[in-house]
């Protein structure tokens, strides 16, 4: 059955990619400046040779490279990403602790962008060169050009400092809140600014992409056929133009999904949001490369996962892909 073949193919591909990234990770660790043993020794305040040797042994740093690589790959497969150089805690634990916060933030931003962007873009495409269209194009061009972190800072300046409507950082209020409803509300209030910051850039991208895609689709022959059948304009726009125009957007959205963690690093730093992005930033400055690379690997896995999801969605949305094989 073709479905099984497709899934199998995907699993094999995914595994190959993960393996490649794991190997890449391994070599990146070794290229990182500073002997990890020295880094840890520095933290511990002791630097005598005995200590260094013991650290090396503990972390298996005295083995030949190939053995280390093999150990590393084995560990990754069992979800053991090593220990943080700084805290000594397992990297996997540290990441899992913070992952939900990032998923909440990026998930919200992603959905927001995916809902608002194509909608606005489609509306603009239906009235090309109108005031709405021109305005939307200018605004989206502006947001496409502004750095995400700067938008975040500006939003804080306006909505937190000036207007005082929304909290400027963190995920929860300092003063604990009681009652589930109040807690959810508190979370939501903290989520608003960072999610919007992350989403704005992508909304701009989707607006422009959707508009371009729809305008291009609108000039295709089958749209003319739909009109020749006497269909009302709204039907032509929805079932014929938008439906096919969305396909390249789905492709793009899929590609973007995995890379949202990158954007999250910056947003989480600005808003002090306790997610893995912030974790990565901290790890960067504490030279805790094990942790940093752990985050890298996890986000790479997310990319692979979302790519597969996108392919699946595309197969449903565009019957030509499966059928033409």
């Amino acid at each position: 059955m073709p479905q099984i073949g497709f899934l199998l193919q995907w699993v094999v591909k995914a595994m190959a990619v993960v393996l490649a990234i794991t190997i890449l990770n391994f070599f990146l660790i070794r290229l990182a400046p500073g002997d990890p043993a020295m880094v840890m020794a520095g933290e511990a305040g002791a630097a005598d040779q005995q200590f260094l040797d013991r650290v090396r042994q503990d972390f298996g740093l005295d083995q030949p490279v190939v053995v280390q690589l093999w150990t590393y790959v084995k560990n990754v497969v069992t979800l053991d990403l090593g220990q943080s150089y700084r805290t000594g805690r397992p990297v996997t634990d540290m990441i899992l602790e913070r992952l939900p916060a990032t998923l909440l933030l990026t998930g919200t931003a992603y959905l927001l962008a995916l809902l608002v962007g194509p909608l606005l873009g489609a509306l603009a495409a239906m009235r090309p060169r109108s005031i709405f269209d021109s305005l939307l194009m200018v605004v989206s061009l502006v947001f496409y050009a502004t750095p995400i972190f700067w938008v975040g800072l500006l939003l804080i300046l306006v909505f937190s400092v000036q207007l005082g409507w929304l909290p400027p950082f963190g995920m929860h209020s300092m003063i604990p809140v009681t009652g589930t409803a109040a807690q959810i509300l508190d979370l939501a209030r903290h989520l608003v600014l960072p999610a919007i910051t992350l989403a704005l850039f992508y909304i701009a991208v989707y607006v422009r992409l959707t508009r371009a895609s729809m305008l291009e689709t609108a000039s295709l022959d089958y749209v003319k056929t739909a009109r020749a059948k006497g269909l009302p304009e709204w039907r032509v726009a929805s079932a014929h133009i938008l439906r096919t125009a969305l396909i390249p957007i789905i492709t793009f959205a899929g590609l973007q999904a995995g890379h949202l963690v990158g954007g999250a690093i910056v947003v989480e730093t600005v808003f002090a949001w306790p997610g893995i992005g912030r974790l990565a930033f901290d790890a960067l400055f504490q030279r805790d490369y094990n942790l940093l690379l752990g985050v890298f690997l996890v986000s790479a896995l997310m990319v692979v996962f979302f790519n597969m999801l996108t392919d699946l969605v595309l197969r449903i949305a565009d019957p030509r892909i499966a059928g033409r094989a």
């Binding site: 490649a20 050009a145 972190f149 963690v261 910056v266 930033f281 960067l284 940093l292 890298f296 990319v303």
Partner: protein, 279 residues
């Protein structure tokens, strides 16, 4: 030339070109406009805009305006050089894959796909951290992370051009394959590549500013992202430390995007909104 005329039809593109020209001029003339080291203390810290310091001073008393003027050079240089390298890599990979096809293509496509699967921003951070932050490492990191999309574009262009009948005619005329790629295919593939390249410069500048914001910029040079990042702790009181550098980034990137779109319209007039009017 018809090309210039077509370009000028797009008012946004003309505005973008003007802004970009100003930015480039400022960058080139930086030592003249604001002589001295922009990283040196000039006045009292955290002065709001006004008087001697039109854009104010930061927490170390550095002149914000000087920082912006000198920072232009860094951003533009990094944006340009990293894009040129990325385009060179991407076009070579894409052209070889698209033109020769077969197993070579398969292999190169997998390599390209792999690089696209790696989360780009984190990878850039890693590369810069490993190579220790400097102009060279930032340029390299950005180039390594941004070449795949242009490789894909180059590949699809070359693949479609290879089948074009005038290329087949060149084969029959006895031209060598290199000659064909360089003189028949490449000139016709240029337009979309140029457009994408110009837009990539904008993205490179944004990436560079994000890296500098996080503290991974070249420590010896002042850059717009760095200015915003350094001011994070005091930005709520000293709004001018974030606003002006950010505006500089936004304006420059906006200008480049406008120019890129203008190039697109000028180079592909047949795509612009004309229809096939069949009678």
């Amino acid at each position: 030339m018809a090309f210039l005329k077509r370009y000028a039809e797009n008012r946004g593109a003309v505005a973008g070109l003007v802004i970009l020209a100003v930015v480039v001029a400022v960058a080139l003339a930086a030592p003249l406009l604001m002589p001295g080291d922009p990283m040196a203390t000039r006045g009292r810290p955290l002065l709001p805009p006004g008087g001697d310091f039109p854009f104010g001073t930061d927490m170390l008393g550095r002149d914000v305006l000087a920082g912006i003027v000198h920072g232009a050079k860094v951003s533009l240089m990094i944006g340009l050089i990293s894009t040129v390298i990325a385009v060179l890599i991407g076009v070579t990979v894409g052209a070889v894959a698209g033109f020769f096809g077969g197993q070579v293509d398969d292999l190169l496509v997998r390599v390209t796909e792999f690089f696209q699967t790696i989360p780009s921003f984190i990878f850039a951070i890693l590369l810069v951290a490993i190579m220790t932050p400097s102009l060279a490492s930032i340029v390299t990191a950005i180039a390594v992370v941004t070449w795949p999309p242009i490789a894909r574009l180059a590949r699809s262009e070359f693949m479609s051009l290879r089948r074009r009948e005038f290329v087949e005619a060149a084969v029959l005329s006895g031209l060598s394959r290199t000659r064909i790629i360089v003189s028949e295919v490449l000139p016709n593939a240029m337009s979309p590549l140029i457009v994408m390249g110009s837009l990539m410069i904008a993205t490179a500048i944004l990436t560079e500013s994000a890296l500098s914001f996080l503290g991974l910029g070249d420590p010896n040079r002042i850059s717009w992202g760095y200015m915003i990042g350094a001011a994070r702790t005091v930005f709520r009181q000293a709004w001018w430390l974030s606003v002006f550098p950010g505006l500089a980034i936004a304006l420059t990137v906006l200008a480049i995007n406008l120019v890129g779109e203008g190039l697109n319209d000028a180079l592909n007039p047949h795509l612009k909104g004309r229809m096939r009017i069949e009678t």
